[in-house]
Symmetry: C2
Subunit: 487 residues, 2 copies
C-alpha cells in the first residue's frame, strides 16, 4: 500500500508521507502490532531520502501511532481505529416491498438448483460449445479497428446506430412494416419488458398473457403490481374462446404474447391463430407486447410472420427481440421495436436507468451479424437442436406417463404428467441426480402442479436418454394413490 504514496512537486515530503501512514493506521488498514517496512525498505518504495523516512517514523512514534522494538522493527500501536462500530443497520427492515417481492420471486434463490454431476434439464440456454469464437474474435478486432477508441466512450441511449439500422432491416425481413416505427436497444428482453411495464402501466392495471407463460415475465408483472389475466393454453395452443371471455370480462390494458417457441410449452403459434388473436385483441383495443423469444430458431426455416407483421401499418404491436437467447446470452442485447413516438419516450426512460447498453457489445454483435456469421450459426445449431429435440420427444413419449407433451422444436419440451405431482417427482429425481423445472412456476394462478419443463439444449444425446429414463422410472415408481390434479 505504500507504493501508493506519490508526491506532488513542492509538497513537503515528510508531511505528506506522515499523513498518509497516519490515515492508513487510523482507518485500521494496519492492525495493532503489524510491522512497518524498515526505513530502508520504505526508502526504496517511495522515492525520497532515507532521512525523510526516519523523520516520518519519529513523528509517528511521537504521536503514539507506532512503537519501536530494538532490533526488531517498528510496529503499529493500539490506536483508536475503527472507532465506528456501534451503528448496525438492519437493512432487511429498510428494504421496501418492491425489493422484498423481487427476492421472494427469485427462483435462483427459492428453487432447487443444479449441482455438479447432475443431469440438468433446467437450462434452456444455448449450448455454448456451439458458439463460433473465431468469428467473435474477428468481429471484435474488426470493429475496434474501424471504430477505434470512440466505441469505448459514451454512446447513445437509443443504441448503436449501425445495429439499430441493421435490426430495422431485420424486422423488415420478418415481414414487418417499419413505417413510423423505431428501435430502442436494451439489455436483453428482460430490460425491454421492464421498461415497457414501467412506462405503460400503473399499479392494478390488467395485463393479459398466456397461461402458462415465461416466469421472468410473471415476476415483472407482479413486481409492477399488475392484475394478471391468464389465458389458457391447451394441447393445440392458446384457447381463443377463453381469450374472448377474458377480454369480455376485463378491461385489459395490454397483452403479452410469446407466439414462437412459447416459453414454457415450446409451441409455435400458427399464422391463422396469430391473425385471430390479433383480431380479437384489436376489437377490444388491447395493444400487444410481442415477445420474439427464440423466433431466431425459425429464422432460416418455415418462418411464420410475427404478430408485428400482421399488424401491418398499425402501431399496436410492440415487439421485443433478443439476441441474448440463442446467440450470446452473456452479452445481454435486446431491442424494443414499436411506434416511434413511444420509442422516443422509452429512450429517456432507458437513459435515466443506465445511460445506454454497452456500446462495445453492440458493436461486436453488429459486426458479427452483418458478416453473415449469425445465419451460419443458426443453420448449424438448428440441426443440432433438432436432433436433441427429436430424441427427447421420442423418449418422453416412451418413458414418461403423460397426458400430453408440447413442443414444436426449439430447446425444451413441456409435459403434462398423468396424475403425478411434478414437485414430488422432482424430489425423487434429484436423489438420482436428475433435475428439471417444475411447471407451476410458469402459471399465473398456482396451476400446473402436474407439469414440468425439460430443457435439453446443453445436454448430450446420452445425457438426454439417461435423464429421461430416470424421470420415467421415478414417475412410474409413484405407487401411492394419486389425488387427481385439475388440469
Amino acid at each position: 500500500m505504500f507504493h501508493n504514496i506519490k508526491l506532488k512537486n513542492g509538497e513537503t515530503a515528510y508531511v505528506k508521507i506522515y499523513n498518509y501512514i497516519k490515515e492508513v493506521i487510523e482507518n485500521g488498514m494496519l492492525p495493532h502490532g503489524s510491522k512497518l517496512p524498515s526505513t530502508r525498505e520504505m526508502t526504496s518504495m517511495i522515492n525520497v531520502s532515507r532521512n525523510t523516512i526516519i523523520k516520518v517514523y519519529e513523528l509517528l512514534e511521537d504521536n503514539g501511532l507506532v512503537y519501536t522494538e530494538k532490533g526488531k522493527g517498528t510496529f503499529v500501536s493500539k490506536v483508536n481505529i475503527n472507532k465506528n462500530s456501534d451503528w448496525n443497520i438492519d437493512w432487511l427492515n429498510k428494504i421496501n416491498n418492491y425489493a422484498k417481492t423481487a427476492e421472494e420471486l427469485d427462483i435462483m434463490k427459492h428453487e432447487q438448483l443444479y449441482k455438479k454431476g447432475m443431469i440438468s434439464f433446467k437450462s434452456i440456454a444455448p449450448d455454448e460449445s456451439l458458439f463460433d469464437m473465431e468469428e467473435l474474435k474477428r468481429a471484435f478486432l474488426n470493429r475496434i479497428t474501424l471504430e477505434g477508441e470512440k466505441i469505448l466512450n459514451y454512446g447513445y441511449a437509443k443504441g448503436y446506430k449501425p445495429l439499430i439500422d441493421f435490426l430495422m432491416n431485420y424486422m423488415k425481413e420478418k415481414g414487418v412494416n417499419t413505417k413510423g416505427k423505431s428501435i430502442l436497444i436494451t439489455n436483453g428482453f428482460t430490460e425491454g419488458f421492464d421498461i415497457l411495464l414501467s412506462s405503460l402501466t400503473n399499479r392494478g392495471d390488467k395485463i393479459l398473457c398466456e397461461n402458462p407463460t415465461h416466469n421472468t415475465s410473471i415476476k415483472l408483472m407482479k413486481l409492477h403490481e399488475l392484475d394478471i389475466i391468464g389465458v389458457r393454453i391447451n394441447e393445440d395452443g392458446i384457447d381463443l374462446e377463453d381469450l374472448d371471455e377474458k377480454l369480455k370480462d376485463n378491461k385489459v390494458k395490454l397483452a403479452y404474447i410469446i407466439p414462437s417457441y412459447h416459453n414454457p410449452t415450446g409451441m409455435v403459434m400458427s399464422f391463422e391463430k396469430r391473425e385471430k388473436l390479433y383480431s380479437a385483441l384489436k376489437s377490444h383495443e388491447v395493444p400487444i407486447i410481442e415477445d420474439g423469444f427464440n423466433e431466431e430458431l425459425q429464422h432460416l426455416g418455415a418462418h411464420i410472420a410475427p404478430i408485428a407483421a400482421i399488424s401491418g401499418e398499425e402501431n399496436s404491436v410492440i415487439y421485443i427481440g433478443s439476441l441474448s437467447k440463442i446467440l450470446f446470452p452473456g452479452m445481454r442485447i435486446g431491442w424494443i421495436f414499436g411506434d416511434e413516438k413511444l420509442i422516443y419516450t422509452l429512450e429517456s426512460v432507458k437513459r435515466s436507468r443506465n445511460i445506454h447498453t454497452s456500446s462495445l457489445d453492440q458493436a461486436i454483435l453488429y459486426e458479427y451479424m452483418k458478416s453473415g456469421s449469425f445465419e451460419k450459426y443458426v443453420k448449424k445449431v438448428r440441426n443440432i437442436y433438432r436432433e436433441k429435440y427429436e430424441l427427447a420427444k421420442r423418449l418422453c413419449e416412451e418413458y414418461i406417463p403423460n397426458k400430453f407433451i408440447l413442443g414444436d422444436g426449439g430447446l425444451y419440451l413441456f409435459i403434462k404428467l398423468k396424475d403425478i405431482n411434478a414437485r414430488e417427482l422432482l424430489d425423487r429425481c434429484i436423489k438420482r441426480e436428475v433435475i428439471f423445472t417444475p411447471g407451476d412456476i410458469f402459471y399465473t394462478n398456482g396451476e400446473g402442479l402436474d407439469t414440468l419443463r425439460l430443457g435439453f439444449s446443453r445436454l448430450t444425446l446420452d445425457e438426454i436418454e439417461k435423464g429421461i429414463k430416470i424421470i420415467g422410472e421415478e414417475a412410474y415408481s409413484d405407487n401411492r394413490v394419486q389425488r387427481t390434479i385439475d388440469s
Copy 2:
C-alpha cells in the same frame, strides 16, 4: 429474401415455396408491381427443380397474387396487403407519469446540444484518445482464451466472480473495512443508484444531498418521487451548519453524497469534513449512499479515504463505484458495495431487471484491471488532465468575471459568475460556437442561475484557451443593468 426458403425433408416443395411467397406478398414485403426473380434465378436460389418453380408461379398467378407480362417477367398484383391500417394508438396518451417525467427531465432532449464545429465545455467524459486500445485488445484476447465460450453464456446476477473479488480488494486498498460487506455489479453508477432508490425508498421519502449535485441523480430522485433536501455548498464545500439544520428539521431517510471531485463543483471533500459529515448523519441515523465518482483520479495521489472507510465496521455506508467514468464509459460497469444482507436482496432486484451485466465486458475489464494497465492509465491521464485543469483555471480567473471558481483538479470547473445569468451568456456563446452546461440543472431548487460548469477533458489546450476567452468576452459584453441574482 428467397434465400430464406429452406425445405424440410418430406415436405412437398412447391406447397412450401408457394406458401412462403404468398405470405411475403400478403404481408406487404413485396409491394404491388415489384418484379419476382425469373424462374431460372429462383431455381438457383432455392435448391429445387425448375419445374417446381414454374408450378409455384402458375399457382401464384391462379390465385391472383402475381401477373405475367410477356417478355418482361412476373410481377406482384395489387393484393389486399396491410389490411390492418385503421387502428392508430396515441401512445403519448398511454405513457404513465413516470415515463413522462423521464422525458421531461432528459437534458439530452431539452438542453442545447453540441453541434459539429463547436468548442464544447459540456462533456466531462474522458478523452478517448487516451484509451490504451492495445491493452484492451490484449485483455479481450487473454480472457477469451482463458474462459472460452463460457463467458458468452449466461452469468450471475451478482456479477463476474473474479471482478467482484478484485473490487473487494480494491475497496480494501481504499481503507474500507470489508467485513460483512459484499458487491453487486451494475450497469454503471446510474443503474446502481436507481436500484438503490427502487429498493430502499418509497414515494415522498426525504433524501438529503448536496446542492448542487449530479443532475442524473436529481433526475432519479425525482423519478422516484422523493422529497429532495439539498444542503448548501459554499466556497469551502458542503455547509455543515446547513446540514445540521436540515437534519434537525427533517426526518431524512437517506443521504446521497459525492465526496471526491464532486459533480458539478469538482471539489474534493477533506478528510476532516468527511468525518464531521459522517458523525452528523450518524447522530440522526441517516445511512449514506456514497457516490465514488471519479475517485479513481485520486487513486495514485493523496488519497483521501472514502466515507465508506470512515464508517469502519459499521454497515451504514453504501458505496457506488464506477469504472465507466474515466476508463471506458462505453462498457457501463459499476458496482454497489455495502452490507451483505442488503446486497443479497439487491441481487434479486438486478436479476429481475436485466438478469446481469454483460459478462464479456466484466471479464475484459477484470483482465485489464488486474494486469496493472489501469494504474498505468490513471497515472498517464492524471498528468494530462492536470495540465488542462491548471490552464483552464488560470484562464477562467483571468477572463471570466466571477464570484468564485471551484474545482480541485479533475475534469471540470464550476464557476459562480458575477451577476450574470448563465443561460443568457450561453445563448450568446453558442452564437460564437462555444457551449457549456448552465449550472442550474445541478440545483435541487431552481437556484444557480448565475453558475456554469466547464468540462475540459476532451478539449485541446488551444481549444480551452480560445473557448474561455470567448466566454469571457461575452460575459463582459453584458452591458445591460444586471439584476442581482441571489446566491
